[in-house]
Amino acid sequence: MSETTKGRQGWRAFVRSDGFVSVLAVVLSLIVGGILIAVTNKDAQASAAYFFAQPGDFFRDAWNAASGAYAAMFRSAIFNYEGATATEMFNPLSETLTQATPLITASLGVAIAFRAGLFNIGAQGQVIIGAAVAGFVGFRLHLPAPLHILLVVLAAALGGAAWGGLAGWLKAKTGAHEVITTIMLNYVATYLLAFVLLTPLMQRTGSSDPVSEVIDPTAVFPQLIPGTTLRVHLGFVIAILATVFTWWLLSRSKLGYRLRAVGANPEAARTAGISVAACTVIAMALSGAMAGLAGASQVSGTEMFVAEGIAATIGFDAITVALLARSKPLWVFLAALLFGAFRAGGVGMQTDTGTPVDIVLVVQSLIVLFIAAPALTRTIFGIRDRKKAAKAPKAPKSAPPAPPAETPAAQAATVEGGAA
């Protein structure tokens, strides 16, 4: 075998690998997003009117629109090469990390539930409850700084855990499907927050709007780089710790082993003496706790008070992040950074080029869809599908490819034959 064929085979294996498909999915989604930006661009539309006379104009305008938007996105998400000061240059990165912070923990939560076989669509509600509790502790209790912060974090985690655990408990106790209950609990949480924001419990004194008091300075997460305007805060460190914890939980701990067993085969887990009900509640509670941390990060890290939109769309984005990362903690961290960059960049893109930030949602959802259907992505890029060919012999369950005799049939034959 020559070096070149070896190299070619290695290349082929790489091209067909899941990792490469993920890259292709991102590229493909960005292309689709670019096309959408291009065709809705006024200049491109104008030059499309005389497309057949001067097609070059259209392609130039379309390219300018898409590349301009993406360049603006890069400048506001990674590095502002047009910035005058170091702070201006690095502010985009800080914004990305700030946006990613709550997303990381919330997505870890969704991932934990996924690995335990549970589809937690309720991260949104759990973020809301976490934020509400964090805010309450933040402005109602008055404590010295480190203790206050610790308490805010703990309370938010507990709040989220209770809300997530409730869905877990309903599933364990009555079999109510968590997809439905968590969707419903999202709305209950939304209205519950709307209600308490108008009660003396939380409402800002002197205000008639549904906004809470501002939290004490002792409850605010300190900036990571003090003395600058860079917003990235302690929450990011908490998110890193949460990632490491989740990694340990899922791949090293006894509890994680049990959760995964329940997720992969609840019947076998039950037969092996693992309490499926307990694991369901624990998984949902842990999932909710992680989402609750995201709520704390929103309140103590960026907003400083609680309002109706405190959770933004973190809970829903978290689902896409966890799906993108296939629920592997370290990949969740990276995928959340990517989505944080999209979010930070999308906002900058909107102010710079007028491209609505919603395009980010389109790109994000397409990435997940393309990754979930690798066969489609490969087909689009003209890569022959390796999995289909390899999987085919496994498909017929009635005819397993095991040559030796398979059942007590032979035994039947012998016994009867012996008697004959």
């Binding site: 006894k254 076998a268 092996a272 003496g273 005819a399 007590p408 032979a410």
Partner: protein
Amino acid sequence: MQLELKNVTKAFGDFVANDSISLTVEPGQVHTLLGENGAGKSTLMNVLFGLYQPTAGEILLNGQPVRFSGPGDAMARGIGMVHQHFMLVPVFTVAENIALGHEDTKGGRLDLKTTARKVREISARFGFDIDPDALVEDLPVGVQQRVEIIKALIRDAELLILDEPTAVLTPQETDELLRIIKQLRDGGTSIIFISHKLREVKEISDVITVIRRGKVVGTADPSASSSELASLMVGRDVQLNLNRVPAEGGSPALEVKNLSVVATNGTLLLDDVSLSVAEGEVLAVAGVQGNGQTELVESIMGLRPVQSGSVSLHGDVLTGRPVKEVLRYGVGYVPEDRNVEGLVGEFSVAENLVLDQLDRPEIAGRLSLHRAAVARNASDKIEEFDIRTGSASAAASTLSGGNQQKIVLAREFSRPLRLLVASQPTRGVDVGSIEFLHRRILRERDTGTAVVLVSTELDEVLEMGDRIAVMYHGKLMGIVPGGTSREVLGLMMAGSTAEEAFEAAAGSAQPGSEENLV
């Protein structure tokens, strides 16, 4: 209808399930396909029924080549099939199931009355007692099978394929089915009968084609001796003589008293069952699938709440305890379906080998698993039980059935046992592994462990049981000594008490009928 298969080949990737199979079924003939599970019989029938496309070869009906793109085509040409796993919608009525795909309509409306009338007509012809308005999920399996047969007949099937139709039937129900098949044949219907049970095959067949590893290895006459057929089917002489020594009667270990289990819909699944198993004894529990064996085993394990009664082991009550405590108490469990309850398919072999061992301090600490210990445990067990796997980190789902079952057994034997509950321990396992598994279970018995072994295969029951308990409709029909005749066991499996069965068997035992009995 005359059917001819010419060099039919079906391959899945590199695996050839059917290799150039040729055979001819004449009108009004029962043509049996004899072969072990996995020999390729079902695949061939799925090709014939249009569910699979043949890779090569031809199908001819009355001399005309045909091509089926789906089961609809096959049915339109007069082929009907009774599948091994019934193709009935549980929440539909009998009439709805029979109408499906072949509906009578009246002005755009579904006309189930006409279907029901046709069902009654066919039922009358064959002496079935079927209510077209009954929900299929409420019917016993024997009746469901008749619904399947009517489904084929209402479409005027001239060729009926019956895929392992007796697997779910009692010996007496089997006889009834054979009578129906004869009636159909005499009416001119061609029948393809698929089975691996020699007794039925010899009784019903006009022609026998033997299939092994996807190939036709020969044809036989029904008058051929059983041993001849058996060696054709298996391809070598198989001796399964375990040379087992009878049990030394020890003191009672497991005591089950008046156990009753009721389903949520009010059906009585387990009806006042009492039994006891001594130390060093195998109690084999026989019965047709679904007669309460599963419930009995699950109640012993604490997997299922019981309405009344108790289970105790060496005097300690197990009822009401969680599974974990039952296991910790020294009960080993080989569940009925290893893929569903025994293994986590996507976990590695090593992880599966400690699935219920997390309480052992050498395997796991308070918080985390001891990875080195898990790996060491895996390499020990793989060697001891001869588990054929690429590596200890391979996913359990990639192993063959026999090796998967060895994982389960190895895991259960890793702790000292006082009771082993094994449900269908050799289902879907190759002959070599069956012997290995049986020997390991007997060796465990010889150390003084009480063993409850549930099996629907009479051969396994007779092979392993020191005593045999027979279950029917959730009731214990009686406990008889090991080696009791098949006829007695068959009668008990159909609802006779032990006394009635012995009496009936003694009355019917005549010289010359020996072969049918055994």
